[in-house]
């Protein structure tokens, strides 16, 4: 019999409040067969149940303007306690929504980077109609080096195999032109590195912005600043488009009737692109799985995040990403090959 997966959940960051996260924990335990360690204000979390253990952690640092300092200064904070549970082996994975910065900092300090990884990257399944794809980094690193992008490509490919069920995902760099010479200095250098024989990676070159949502690639790699802007722009555009369709369908009886006829089909589209169904973004490159759901998620979305974390444990995502990096010769080494003079890999000003 396989062991029950234990997921530590920070209840301090959700916009809807800790009680909503508590509901998500119950939902996740029932739907995904996991045990949840819930960290937040006990007064709002309710009583423990057989599969949900409540740990009183009233302090939330989710809205702190300097998450790195907050993580260090407040070891009693809910996210730090949840991370510690994972680092100490009391839980197998972490779910922490509401503050990517706090989850990243606490994860780096306590769970630590996986061996051979320069920087963790936040990977998100983007539910584009007919062409769901994986995008990374969507917010962990505002600036990256070419070797970081190379690692993101390998880790993203391994994650896409698991998440999207693809045998050989098509991996591309996001740039402003398809030619290998297009893009920033770092993107061009990463293209050159990825273009060399790279075992196990199906690198197809660059994709441009208009190829993102139309199935040009299965894994799109970029720095965290660009990725974050792209996914938020897509969310905004999608929301505006749905609103415009709704508005058009309400202008007159004939259109209302047409809208009624279309409603089942539109509902299917809306459900397919619903971000809550995706469960949030996975922080790849730490020693244990960390999932960061959107702060605005309700119980259903947070439960999906717990399910995603449990799946990463059960299907050994960490082992898969390490194997992909190793097979591609992309594990970090002490040999400095592509760093600029006076600078070194893994260390970069991310202003």
């Amino acid at each position: 019999m396989t062991q029950t997966v234990v997921v530590a959940v920070d209840a301090g960051g959700a916009d809807a409040g800790p009680a909503e996260v508590s509901r998500a924990a119950e939902l996740a335990a029932a739907e995904h067969g996991v045990r949840v360690l819930l960290f937040g204000p006990a007064s709002a979390l309710g009583t423990a149940t057989p599969n949900v253990e409540v740990h009183d952690a009233p302090l939330s640092i989710a809205k702190h303007p300097d998450p790195v300092r907050a993580v260090r200064a407040h070891p009693e904070a809910s996210v730090v306690q949840a991370v510690r549970a994972v680092a100490e082996g009391r839980a197998d994975a972490l779910v922490a929504g509401g503050s990517t910065g706090a989850a990243l900092a606490a994860g780096l300090f306590r769970i630590k980077r996986a061996p051979g990884v320069h920087r963790p990257a936040l990977a998100m399944r983007v539910p584009a109609p007919d062409h769901p794809f994986l995008m990374l980094d969507v917010g962990a690193n505002t600036a990256v080096r070419p070797e970081h992008l190379v690692q993101f490509a390998h880790m993203g490919s391994a994650y896409a195999e698991l998440l999207l069920g693809l045998e050989s995902p098509r991996v591309a760099l996001l740039s402003n032109g398809e030619e290998a010479t297009k893009g920033s200095e770092d993107v061009v250098a990463a293209h050159a590195l990825l273009g060399q024989a790279s075992a196990g990676l199906n690198f197809i070159g660059n994709v441009e912005g208009f190829g993102i949502a139309t199935g040009a690639a299965d894994v799109i790699v970029c720095d965290g600043f660009t990725g974050n802007v792209v996914i938020k722009m897509m969310e905004g555009a999608s929301s505006a488009l749905m609103g415009a369709i709704r508005g058009a369908a309400e202008q007159g009886a004939r259109f209302r009737l047409g809208g009624l006829l279309l409603r089942p089909a539109l509902r299917g589209v809306r459900e397919a692109v619903d971000p809550e169904r995706q469960g949030g973004a996975m922080l790849l490159g730490l020693r244990k799985p960390v999932v960061v759901p959107h702060g605005s998620f309700g119980a259903r979305g947070i439960a999906a995040a717990v399910g995603l974390a449990a799946r990463a444990v059960r299907e050994d995502l960490g082992g898969r990403t390490h194997a992909a990096l190793e097979a591609g010769g992309a594990l970090r080494t002490r040999e400095v090959t592509s760093a600029a003079p006076g600078s070194l890999p893994g260390i970069r000003d991310s202003r």
Binding site: V68, L108, R334, V336, G342, L344, G346, I347, R348
Partner: protein, 76 residues
């Protein structure tokens, strides 16, 4: 030993890490990198470093000196 540990954390050949190596100027380290190093030193050597003290650690030599001055006896 501390210097070797720092080199490992910085992904460098220990021979390339000198006491005068400046975290920000020479290694282009950002605040998250530095705090990760500080956390590693705290966890490994049992030292406690305030944010103010951490802000004053600019070079590898200063980090080594801090650990030597503040590490409890019998620590590794």
């Amino acid at each position: 030993m501390i210097q070797t540990h720092l080199a490992d954390e910085l992904e460098l050949d220990p021979a390339r890490v000198e006491e005068s190596t400046h975290f920000k100027n020479d290694l282009d380290a950002d605040s998250l990198d530095l705090y990760t190093l500080v956390q590693e030193l705290e966890d490994t050597y049992g030292v406690i470093m305030s944010d103010e003290q951490a802000a004053g650690i600019l070079t590898v030599g200063q980090a080594v000196d801090f650990v030597l001055a503040h590490a409890p006896a019998q620590r590794p």
